[in-house]
């Protein structure tokens, strides 16, 4: 098995990785595997801890977000699959890369003023190091000029 893993969270910032993954698929002929990870950590700071039910709602929302990406890929003649997982984003990206023996993993490039809960440059570099150690996938950063 092989393929291109593209982890997305939806929204305008995910457009660059989606487009880059589609472009890569057009160049290599590989299948794109869009990944959405459900993480409910944000609930820990409020008085609500009803994660049991929200988890399935978030799963459905994630599937829908992936469907929009798959739809976008299909319109450009690219086969894409979606996968929703629960837990830690980094671990789930690595796990999916290992499972499908991905050749590429496309990640969004963080911006200077990015939010604290999104990978910053340092965390991204650490994560890329982990990816290179634990998988054979080549990391592609989207949303900027450079690629690694």
């Amino acid at each position: 098995m092989s393929g291109i893993v593209c982890a997305i969270r939806g929204g305008p910032e995910s457009q660059a990785p989606i487009l880059r993954a589609i472009q890569l698929a057009q160049e290599t002929g590989e299948t794109v595997h869009f990944l959405f990870v459900v993480n409910l950590d944000f609930l820990t700071k409020t008085s609500s801890s009803r994660t049991h039910h929200l988890s399935s709602e978030m799963q459905q929302m994630g599937e829908f977000i992936l469907l929009t990406a798959e739809d976008q890929a299909a319109r450009q003649g690219i086969t894409a699959q979606g996968s929703v997982r629960r837990g830690n984003v980094s671990k789930e990206i690595i796990a999916l890369c290992q499972e499908i023996e991905a050749d590429y993993v496309v990640l969004g490039r963080p911006r200077a003023a990015d939010r604290p809960d999104v990978f910053d440059i340092t965390r991204l570099e650490t994560f890329i190091g982990q990816l290179q150690l634990q998988t054979t996938a080549q990391v592609v950063l989207a949303g900027g000029e450079e690629e690694s």
């Binding site: 997305i8 969270r9 939806g10 929204g11 305008p12 910032e13 995910s14 459900v38 993480n39 409910l40 944000f42 609930l43 820990t44 700071k45 409020t46 008085s47 609500s48 801890s49 009803r50 049991h52 039910h53 929200l54 709602e57 978030m58 459905q60 929302m61 599937e63 829908f64 977000i65 469907l67 929009t68 739809d71 939010r115 809960d117």
Partner: protein, 574 residues
Amino acid sequence: MNRTFKHWLVATGLLALIVALLATQAGAQTAEPATLELIVGTVLDKQNQPVVDARVWLANTGHEDVLVETETQQDGRFALPIADPYAEAFQKPLTLHVERHHFEPATLDLTAEQVREIAALQSVVLPDIMLQRRVALGFWAAVGVFVLMLVLIATSKMHNTLAALLGMALVLTITYLGSLLIPDLYIFDFEHALQYIDWNVIFLIMGMMIFIAVVEGTGIFQWLAFFAYRVSGGRTWLLVLILMVITAIASAILDNVTTMLLMTPITVQIALALNMNPLALLIPEVMASNVGGISTLVGTPTNILIGSYAGISFASFLVNLTPGVLLAMAGLVLYTELIYRRQLKQASSEVSPVLLKRLEENARITQPGYLKKAGVVGLGMLLLFLFGEGFHLTPAVTAMMGATALLVWIRPNIEEMIEAVDWTTLVFFMALFIGVGAIQEVGLISAIADTIAWLVGEDLVLAMLIITWLGAVLSTVIPNIPFTAAMLPVVGYLTTTISGAENLVLFFCLSVGSAMGGNGSLIGASANLVTAGISERAGYPITYMYFLKRGFPALLITVSLAMVWLLFRFLVLG
């Protein structure tokens, strides 16, 4: 023992426990002091509020030996039991001593005539004894702990419940350990702390949580959101309007956080299907949720607190606040349609069939049987909420009866249902009550009440404006639940001092201010944070500034409109 019997057993046991607890509390509040004693009186504070658990003792004038002693009851009254009025000590001049933590001690010399009456076995009714507050180290310790708790919650440095538990633990540690070294650090003991927990609130919230746990799994919210999409027929201005109305009504029946937990994911999907920014739907929804919840007793945690403290019924909230909520909602709809007009116009009229099919699948009623039964029980609860007051049925008992009836009827996995209760919130409330009790005990609440009473004097309109706007503005920076809990005794005091406030108008002002204030900033309401969390997970973050820019004007509009109604309702209609 078969499963059915176990269910009945659990349900009956639970119900019996609740009724017993609530009855015990009601009994405690109405307990009358014994009437056989010869010296009776009442101890009050500066605000004419009863001083509970004050030590009252009698001694011969100029001596410290205690002849008899007792403690004041819930209503501040005491009755000294005298076993042997013919004893020599009772023939001499007598002095009554009154002591209590956080008050200056007081003494009262009995007149010669009163001493003779005692000797003649005649009851002596003493004039009211007024105690003056004393600011000691315990005062500053309790205030410091409360401020720390607020800061930890407001800055999200700690989970709400953990912050409240920390506050409670610190108060008790200071009392038990700190006062060993410095006696003035004493705040209150555990037994006293427990008296500040309002079990009506705890059981009402618990009952509603069980009911909501059943409703939220039925898919009704998702279906309603999709229904809004269908009815709007691509007209996004109408879609926003219907979603706001649905959210407001749902928030009035359930709680805002649950409503937004369930509405946000499906709303994001609808927005994505329409190729529009989900925030154009989510922000109006969450604002409608914060406003809509105000119209009922169970719509917001702050209303539950207010209703229980002031004895305001479900029907009274509905009658006195719903018109104001409708007025505020009208203003909010116009405002949100205006600020999001560009995003609403940009929405796509063509929806991909693949996305539409998935949207429809995700918006199905998943448990129609549960929904039907929850509807029947919910209707029964609504009727009891509305008319139960007539036969002294408290909302807490109604909520627990409804929840238990629903559990027995649908027979869900009881462990799953118990897990569905948000115990962290219940613990939060219990710890919060103790934290607020501590500042009430040491006299901070009295000081605030005195200050506001001094500011407003006898002016009811000024008091209404101050309570409403203070609540609204402060709720944008500090969490509205602890704020409301702390303000209840203050408003209670003002209700007794300001002419015309006997109709509890100031409590309605507090309800409007504290709940609508939630729209002023991202941290103003838990529903805002939950919505922002889910939206951020979908790639559409709601930053503090983004919310503030749109939320604060919404606060000004909605509170002003609701204020107009309150003034009209209570000053013009009377």
